[in-house]
Symmetry: C2
Subunit: 148 residues, 2 copies
DNA sequence: CTACAACAATTGTATATACAAATGTAATTC
DNA sequence: GAATTACATTTGTATATACAATTGTTGTAG
């Protein structure tokens, strides 16, 4: 992936700007791949993230602020995100009995089933995106990311 | 930036998934910083990108497909993006005399002036985001990104 | 126990983005 | 040169997201 070729510029870009542009270009590619995997399941990247968080709860219900806190990309409207998952039958929401301000959100068996299918595809996509990188290079990347 | 701490999970994430999540987390941070720099100027990241492309044209007008092709994040509606810049007086659009299907978009002196101010702030922000990385590490990052 | 502050989620509204269909123009084919 | 195809942009519409204001509930100070 050559930055100058992709954004079609002839002039040399300063190393710092170049790195950040490069960063965003790769990120766009990652999101594009993930989105295309998720599309047939009619689930957005954010919705997928919520489903995975809920499964990670192992039965324990999560409330909205917990979800928001754990999401990779925090967004300002988790209520409506959950609304969509409810319509699809993938999650279930009840008001918390001990504190009626809160809600308890859980993943349904149907949601778990779909999530399992998605996971397989996503896992393949991940391997494909990273096919040119060795485990050592992945470690290296993670270490560099830690410096941000 | 510790991934597990940020997304608040206790379990170990496989290296591949972890890298991609880490990638997105850092990207979100970058976008967040950029957006907050741009906010006072009432210019979005995409609009900023268009302005920079137009300046890079050095007077030569650009048409919509050229803009779209050169944008870091391609979006499906460059028309409306340009509309907003016109309202702000930062760019100018006329239909191309030699081919009336096309349009000719140029940056205005006002646009150039604002862009210069933004550039200074963005440059500072870039340095700040990357303050913990040496030039060598930046090169290393770019090389790793090339493998995607 | 009443008033007030803090909390958690929801709703309203404006803007942004994705995708498809439509418009207007130019080039090509017969 | 009329019909068709391809091109470049615009418009329509549905959905997504950001941000602020609102609602309903709980905790707390006096």
């Amino acid at each position: 992936m050559n930055v100058e070729k992709i954004i079609k510029t002839e002039k040399e870009i300063p190393l710092e700007s170049r790195t950040l542009i490069h960063f965003m270009l790769v990120n766009n590619k990652i999101i594009e791949v993930f989105s295309s995997v998720l599309k047939p399941f009619d689930v957005s990247l954010q919705q997928f993230n919520v489903l995975r968080i809920l499964r990670g709860q192992k039965g324990r219900p999560a409330n909205l602020s917990t979800l928001n806190e754990r999401m990779v990309t925090k967004m300002s409207n988790t209520t409506r995100l959950v609304d969509k998952l409810i319509v699809k039958g993938f999650v279930c929401r009840i008001t918390c009995p001990s504190n009626r301000r809160k809600v308890e959100i859980t993943i349904t068996p149907e949601g778990k089933k779909v999530l399992k299918q998605i996971d397989e595809q996503i896992s393949k996509a991940e391997k494909n995106i990273l096919k040119n990188l060795t485990p050592k290079e992945l470690e290296q990347l993670n270490n560099l990311f830690n410096k941000f």
